[in-house]
Amino acid sequence: QNKVYIESDKEVTIDQVFKIIKTQSDFNFVYPKNLFKKTPKVKIKKGEIEITQLLKNSLSNKNVTFEIIKNHTIIIKRKPVVKTPEKQQQSIRGMVTDEADNPLPGASILVKGTTKGTETDFDGNFSIDVANDNAILVISYIGYTTKEVAIKGKNQLIVKLKEDASQLEEVVVIGYGKQSKAKVIGAVSKINAKELNKVASVSLDQQLAGKISGVVVNQSNGQPGASSNISIRGVGTLTAGTNPLIVVDGFPLSEGSSLNSINTNDIENISVLKDAASAAIYGSRAANGVILVTTKKGKNNQETKITLDTYVGFQQQSSGVELVDAYQHAQFLKEARDWGYVSKDPSNRNASDPNSVRVTKKLNGRNIDGRELNLDFLQPYLDRQPGLTNTNWMDVAFRTAPMYNYNLSASGGNKKTNYYASLGYFNQEGVVIGTDLKRYSASFNLSSKINNKIKFGILLNPSFTILNSKNQGSRSSGALGLLPLSFPYYSPYKTDGSLNISEQVISEQRELEGVRINGTPVENLLATSTKVIDHKKRFRVFGNMFVEAEILNNLTYKLLLGGDYDAYNKDYYYPSSIGSYRTPAPRKDANGEETKQFRYNYLVENTLNYSLEFNNHSFNILAGHTFQKEFNNFTKVTGTGYPDDNIQNIAGASAYSADYNSSIWTLESYLARIQYDYQTKYLISAAVRTDGSSRFGVNNRWGSFPSLSAGWIFTKESFFPENDILNFGKLSASWGKTGNNQIGNYGSQALITDSNYVFNDALAPGFITTSSPNPNLGWEVASSLNIGLDFRLFNKLNISTAYYKTNTKDLLLNLPVPQQTGYNTVLANIGEMENKGFEIDLSANNLKLGALNIGFNANITTYKNTVLALGPDQDVIATGRDENFVTKIGHSIAEIYGYEIEGIYKTQEEINNSPHLSGTLTGDYKVKDINKDGKIDSSDKVSKGSFLPDFTYGFGANVAYNNFSFSFDFTGVTGRTLMDGDMASLTEAGEGFSVPTTYYFKNRYHPTNNPNGFLGQPNFGNFSNSRKQLRSSSVVEKNNGDYLRLRNIRLAYDFSPSVLQAIKVSSFQLYLSANNVFTLTKYRGWNPDGTSSNVLTSGYNTGANYPIARTFLIGARIQL
């Protein structure tokens, strides 16, 4: 196509001629900026015309020449100025490249002290005439350091330009747009694709951990497919959701929706909007911060690139749990059963009493408890007879689990259209048996210019996930909840190799001397993990399409239509052929369930963007309207009456019941923003968003969220001395309001729920109010202040610091109300909270040390959370295990309270002579009488800290040497306290019901076997109130959740160009990588990131907090 068509006779500028050619053909133009600024318009005639002819006509009489080179590029140059020839005039030819010898087309070359200049062509070549041998050429290119080169008789020059990071031309994605990093005046952190995928994980939350100051990613459940809790600059809510808003390519995902659906290989970069001023443009959903995910796109004028990314690896569990073996357990169990028996009536009972005597020792007419019997089978263990069954159930429950990831992508583009497409397959087996995840995903991005003014794009992300999981907190299914109860005397398999079903359930409920031993009747965890079906299939596709049109000069209109379809189907089946807690197989009935949910969500967004630059003033104005609506449908069918295990889903049942739930939410918003700067030196931005949400009461349905920020790049001031130390400095301050609307869909309404009765054995449907209305319900409003100071030193070292302070008012609080009202809690906007702290980010790149190229980064963030107000007349919320989680005005959220344990009572006399809890026996804990009132009660509890850390930090480095590169990253948490529910009630309680930790066993008190122990004496059968109240105190130690973790370590090798040519690929990297290699912590529980999802009981850890995996990988990345 070498001809163009002119619609009508007209007079146009040269620029417009070029546009006509560009829109109708594949031609590109390269010419110096402003070349045609002063040239008069030309007349063109209607009809078809050869391009070369059109150009000749248009450019005749203009002081230029043109030539067509390869790639349909037309280079236009000034005609050499014809001057009177001077002496020694000489022509210089040369080439401009970057440090990697890539030619830089369009670099400008100027003869110093003259107006004479030229530009490099497509291959980086130039030629210029200079007056004499002393001439100096000034060579410049955007983003590179300008260089002056003396001619000195040479006529061939090769000029290498260095990249100049000080110009910080990096672009950062912000809400509803992009901005150059230098101009960003809020707290926005960015992670690029290069930094992503260092951690092998199905979802992006894991990629963020430890990378960004102020962002805490708690992988509180390491089960494949489980999502992490992400908190940005502290937790700002007590009851409402804590999930940040995640926006993928402009489409805000429903809060809390699974991140597994986004393949991390398809992510180009992630921006985290941490302060309210940056986030306020997302209004009522932004109080927990906003994470903007940009997926990979193709580039125009780029040949198709095909990339294969793949890794294989294996994972191991990395918990702090260590349990005793059978020989130790026998010792423990004997002590517990004996002391339980004796302590009830010490004058009349003796540990040496055989069972035949024990059963006769009634107390007040009561038979003895079976837990007071001595177990017959323990003796061989106590005699340390070798070869007895000694199952390490940890080895049964955990495995070395493989994981694989394959990702194939293609991207490219011509002048008008670009695309990116990928296919991904991810397969992870869990480190706990019976858990795994598979994901098939694809991504497709296309954008195209219809003409010079109109552009459109389509983005689609379908994925299909298959998840096998277990309720690990349960004492019937899964493995982790059963581990503390699985006794080492029983084997997972029978001698014939088949599963050993119900041996422990039956054996632990057998009778001795006619009395049940009342042991620990749990099913073989291998059976529950492999035979219980908990199988979830999820199909999700989300994406958007947009049309962008320049409707006037500098004024762009954009229509974005987004959608999200998310459907899952879950089958649950607990066969009758395996036992459950206390119930041996075959059970009378199996349990079956089928759960279906589908959720669809759409977004309609209209925005106008106007940008204007004149005389050093630069404006960018945004205005828009968005509407989003979500539909949710949920059906659960429960089946009972299974005659057999033949059909292991609800089809096999004979009776059914169903739950159905459907809901809708809508959100309508208006938004506006103006960004202004003068000379890129003084920067101001103001924004406002007004949101209306269906979730809130009629009286508070609409809210406005303004923000204001200002910045000053003081190093650009003329008075600032030019120097080589401080290359860049920016001071910024911002203030803004954001909201939190994560309260469920109908929180403002008084709901009627069902509550049935049976009259004469016939079901009588009942319905009644079960929640109270609140027409004033509105969003939580967070006002936050951010002051930032950014530096660049020695052109290498970037330092970014910030102080933040956020006040959250009108907390959405599930306020515990006095229960005489008939309600336990009421959802209300009540209370106030403050989060403040400092952040420092440090990074340096390209430090040279011989042949080594070194970079490093470090970040640290401090947090101070203070509750300022709670409900009316309320100054404390105490909840959770033993009311030990205390949220108190003036203190941090959910401080963990407990008694201060001073030691063990070894004699009755000691007990009598000191204040103690009722029921205290020797071997129980001695507690400090904090308020010295002579009695021990809950007022003697003290705070032992909270889950919310004092500070978090991360640091890492990368080193490149020839073709090798090596990197590592550490992350750490300091000032975190955890309470482990399983430790409190089982593994360190000393009750003979469980398998204790080795720590407990080593340090337990026993008057003869371990007289120096400092943990409560094993006791089964007479477990005192005192121990019950103290068992949670004894496992909580201030800051027991602190850790330092080697998050990632990675060694990569890039093949040299010579090898690449031989195997015909453009790049090829092989790497070895390991994640979570070690975690330094004194925490003895499953997972130091583990917490309950309820903010008010933050830091409560159980077997449901699946441990984090240690992962070792080998991977390759090949680009064709």
Partner: protein
């Protein structure tokens, strides 16, 4: 704008409910449903009525957080979850009754007598809950109106027991004026005799013997109720029989096993396995010595109670569940005619009418196939006989602890040294949630 007005799709909303008789009847059903809650007559009220008594004990006191074991050992702590549930569920039931009493005013019933009966039923149920609360906790907050804004109650104090009792009486008297007499179609609901019986029990608790006698005699004189054969009283196929005045109903094996109670599992000895239903928790075993109190000829022996080879005895009034152990179908009998007769015996004895007292006791003995009472007629001896027959007749019906409390014998019979233990602690969560609730002394 209209898009922002989203009403619940699968939930009924308070503002659009309670508009007609059908919906009010559903609300009434939900009030009855509250009787089945864990903290009410499912397990908690039975447990607190029986386990502290001398005949039942918790064989596995450390299990389930020790909540039952503490009842047995008189060392209940304010964090005891069962006590917390009693408080919560009683008030949930009260609020439900308050809602119906409030909303029914504006609804027209096809038959106004039905409407009046419903008000009476609600007031009876409300009185029953307050009667439980006041006996368990002493002074308790008193709310008799529908709560619209729970936040108004942070500073509500506990009302004196006298105030609570006068409300209970007022409710029962009003109920009596509105409730119908029992017939075949309403025997599952609250009827007039139930209100008389409860009012009599309340008066007896307050030692107002004359009034108690008046109320209870009204039940006797209607001649609707009678004693039936011992093996028929609790037969699962003979529920709501002529001896049952008021029972909370349960059913086993329907609605995916969700309409039964957990009483069978919780209270039976762990060794009791019938129809391969294992997993009983042993929290309410009966002493062998108590089982031995039944004479060999007593028709109630091995009917009301049974014994295992280990010597552990058990309550046999709750029938074995049909499918899963958590789903017992037996109704929980709150009031029955044998109780009425035994209360009358106690009253007459207190009023020094020993002959009349012995007459009532002999009714009970006769039905148990025992010979008439032959002991002396002095007040104490007669009392002891009445007391024994109450234990044997009403075992595991949740009366014992309350009987000993009202007779002021808990300390002597049970050996409780700390008088503070006669009241349960206000749940710790409630002390934490309210600024005005004070803890009972000794906790």
């Amino acid at each position: 704008q209209n898009e922002l007005l989203q009403e619940p799709i699968t939930n009924k909303v308070s503002g659009k409910f309670y508009t007609n008789e059908k919906e009010l009847e559903e609300a009434v059903n939900a009030v009855y449903a509250s009787l089945q809650f864990t903290g009410n007559f499912n397990t908690a009220i039975p447990a607190i009525g029986e386990i502290p008594g001398e005949d039942a004990y918790d064989a596995t006191p450390a299990n389930d957080g020790g909540v039952y074991g503490q009842l047995d050992d008189y060392n209940v702590i304010p964090q005891n979850g069962l006590i917390g549930t009693i408080w919560q569920d009683a008030y949930k039931g009260i609020q439900r009754a308050n809602i119906v009493i409030n909303r029914i005013e504006n609804v027209t019933y096809e038959n106004n007598d039905t409407k009046q009966a419903r008000i009476g039923e609600m007031k009876f149920i409300r009185a029953l809950y307050y009667f439980n609360l006041v006996r368990i906790f002493g002074n308790v907050p008193l709310i008799i109106d529908e709560v619209e804004n729970p936040q108004d109650f942070f500073d509500q104090k506990r009302a004196a027991t006298t105030e609570v009792y006068s409300q209970i009486k007022a409710d029962l008297e009003d109920a009596i004026s509105k409730l119908p007499t029992r017939n075949d179609s309403n025997k599952g609901r609250v009827v007039k005799s139930a209100a008389y019986t409860l009012l009599g029990k309340v008066a007896l608790t307050l030692k107002e013997y004359a009034d108690a006698k008046t109320q209870l005699l009204k039940v006797v004189n209607t001649q609707i109720f009678k004693l039936i054969d011992a093996d028929k009283v609790f037969a699962i196929d003979n529920e709501l029989n002529e001896e049952i005045i008021f029972a909370v109903q349960y059913a086993s094996g329907i609605n995916t096993n969700k309409e039964g109670s957990d009483a069978y599992r919780m209270f039976n000895p762990t060794s009791r396995v019938v129809n391969s239903l294992s997993g009983a928790k042993g929290h309410g075993v009966l002493k062998e010595s108590f089982y031995n109190l039944y004479a060999a000829t007593d028709a109630r022996k091995d009917v009301y109670v049974g014994k295992l080879s280990s010597g552990e005895a058990y309550n046999n009034k709750i029938a074995v569940p049909t499918t899963v152990i958590t789903d017992a179908g037996s109704d929980w009998v709150v009031l029955r005619y044998a109780d009425v007769l035994l209360m009358l015996a106690e009253i007459e004895n207190a009023l020094n009418n020993q002959d009349q007292a012995i007459f009532y006791v002999n009714e009970i003995r006769k039905r148990a196939k025992l010979t008439p009472y032959t002991g002396t007629k002095d007040k104490n001896t007669v009392f002891n006989e009445i007391d024994l027959q109450r234990r044997l007749e009403l075992v595991w019906e949740g009366h014992r602890w309350f009987d000993l409390l009202r007779q002021e014998r808990a300390q002597t019979v049970l050996g409780i040294t700390d008088i503070n233990k006669l009241l349960m602690p206000i749940p710790a969560s409630q002390i934490a949630a309210s600024t005005a609730l004070t803890q009972n002394p000794g906790y």
